[in-house]
Symmetry: C2
Subunit: 340 residues, 2 copies
């Protein structure tokens, strides 16, 4: 693989001149530039970013650490990141932790080794350790979608507590008296916050805390299925199900179907996160939709601002608005009569 010196030799100039051509310096005569470009083309020369980054002490690369790369919510968020990063001349490395703190820790080490310029993190848990680790290595980080215990960090997310509160209120307003909350891992802030919103709505109602039916499980279809089964086994059987994310909703829906229950005829479902077209088969869920793409954009903008040298002591905490979209899954009037 040819180097900058090969090009220089072929063009009859010094390596430095070639470097100037590559980096679009203006202090180059048109003639030499032409010769150098010809040599580059003839040799099929491609600059070595490793050497360049070593010298420049910067990689023009960001990392996006996702807890579940198969979830359309996160891939949409990733597009937001990608688009903003690219415009600014940055590459993005996608990393997947599968909600594992161990995996996340390993990924972080690799990223520090690779000297990425910045990290966008959807943390696998609320521990501030990963943020501290990156800070120790002077790598700017923005936390996405979830909270971490530490507060001195830029972050972008929606208000999960408020969203859950509104969805629960919606169900209560329809007359539901027994609502099962199928939440995510207890260590993940969104799961905890959505439970909190659910609790607040119940507490404010005439039902009180004794009506709570809270389940915790992974943010996956399998988790939703298992939690829905557990909920169905209880007496009285819930007339409504609150899924803490899109995948849990899908799994719960399957479990209900297998139990012979129809949505929305027999039971209601509401969920956090909208489902993309690809999974939006009947029925259509009532959801608290988060602006995934915009979350990615905003987070990347914050990160780039830090890389650009912004250094205020206090950190940005962007809370984006969610949107409650009411659809068929919560519309069955007869659901209540079916509850035992």
């Amino acid at each position: 693989m040819s180097t900058i010196h090969d090009v220089a030799e072929r063009a009859g100039v010094s390596a430095m001149t070639v470097s100037r051509v590559i980096n679009r310096s203006n202090y180059i005569s048109p003639k030499t530039r032409e010769r150098v470009e010809a040599a580059i083309a003839e040799l099929g020369y491609v600059p070595n970013t490793l050497a360049r980054s070593l010298r420049l002490k910067g990689t023009k690369t960001l990392a996006l650490i996702l807890s579940d790369i198969t979830n359309p919510f996160f891939t949409t968020l990733g597009r937001g990141v990608q688009d903003v990063a690219r415009t600014a001349g940055f590459n993005v490395i996608f990393c997947n932790t599968d909600e594992s703190e161990t995996e996340q820790a390993e990924q972080l080490i690799t990223l520090v080794q690779k000297r990425v310029d910045g990290v966008l993190l959807v943390p696998a848990a609320s521990s501030a350790e990963p943020v501290a680790y990156l800070k120790k290595h002077k790598i700017p980080v923005v936390v996405l979608d979830r909270r971490v215990d530490d507060c001195a960090v830029d972050s972008v997310r929606c208000d999960s507590e408020a969203g859950a509160y509104q969805l629960t209120r919606l169900l209560l307003g329809l007359g539901h008296r027994c609502i099962a909350m199928l939440s995510g891992p207890a260590t993940v802030s969104t799961a905890a916050d959505r439970v909190a919103g659910y609790r607040r709505a119940l507490a404010e109602s005439d039902l009180g805390a004794s009506a709570e039916r809270v389940f915790h499980g992974p943010y996956t279809p399998a988790g939703g299925r298992a939690m829905a089964c557990a909920a169905l086994a209880q007496h009285p059987r819930p007339t409504a199900f609150f899924a803490a994310n899109n995948f849990i909703a899908v799994g719960a829906y399957q479990a209900l179907n297998e139990a012979g229950l129809s949505v929305p005829e027999d039971v209601a479902i509401v969920a956090f996160d909208d489902l993309p077209l690809s999974t939006m088969i009947e029925p259509v869920f009532t959801v608290a939709a988060q602006p995934a793409y915009e979350m990615g954009q905003r987070a990347t903008q914050l990160l780039l601002a830090r890389l650009g040298g912004e250094e205020p002591a206090d950190c940005h905490e962007v809370i984006l608005p969610f949107e409650i979209i009411v659809r068929r899954s919560s519309s069955g009037a007869q659901q209540l009569a079916n509850g035992q």
Copy 2:
């Protein structure tokens, strides 16, 4: 950020000794090793892979270029790649082309700049150009899932033609006389091959070529929806739909539902690629399932073998078996009566 020299100084040894400790050389006295490791811990030293790769002329990094990172078929395949690569001490960079040759070309340039050791490519089109580009830069490549015009390249895929043939035969055996083929982009080999298998089955039947109803569109739910709508507008209306991939199947299903048709009561659907649990809402599709995870594994093994110095002139072409899974979506006896 501390360097190997900082560690060396602190431990009172040379940089070389530190390097030996990091790379687990055995020619180190236990005492020195201990001192060095202490210094590493105290400084929070993390080796710089850029410098290391520059020196070693190798990055221990593979790239996986996917045509659609949101499709579960490809993410599953990605896990297969990841698992094998990791075991061998390689990192994997995921890249997404969205079926765009332009995007693919840009990604390739970036990867060459980053000097990845090898590339696993699900090509956006059949052009051999990307393979030639990588070969020119001496970067081993394995083509996945799809064919490219050039043959001198390692590749792993399923036999799309045979799978499509069998699925079509299955529909013909059920008595369907009008089967719409909703395929992917005409430039993608899997789309073309699946059409070919469909054609062969029809040609062998008493229906002949005049019964062909072939549509081309993107491998997306939106594409499936559009093609299904177009097919429904034809006379006679098809009684069965063959979706060339999972996403097309989902979109087609939606279109049929919106047209007031039930699956499998009114029309049949068969598809290539199984849907994962997350999207497997009713009904369950009859499919030709490809071993996505294993495809990723095998491809990575081939790639690692090349990196390990394997250099036979001829290339490996692995054709993995698919599995026909018959489920409810193709079971309606009354579908035929409903056809006009």
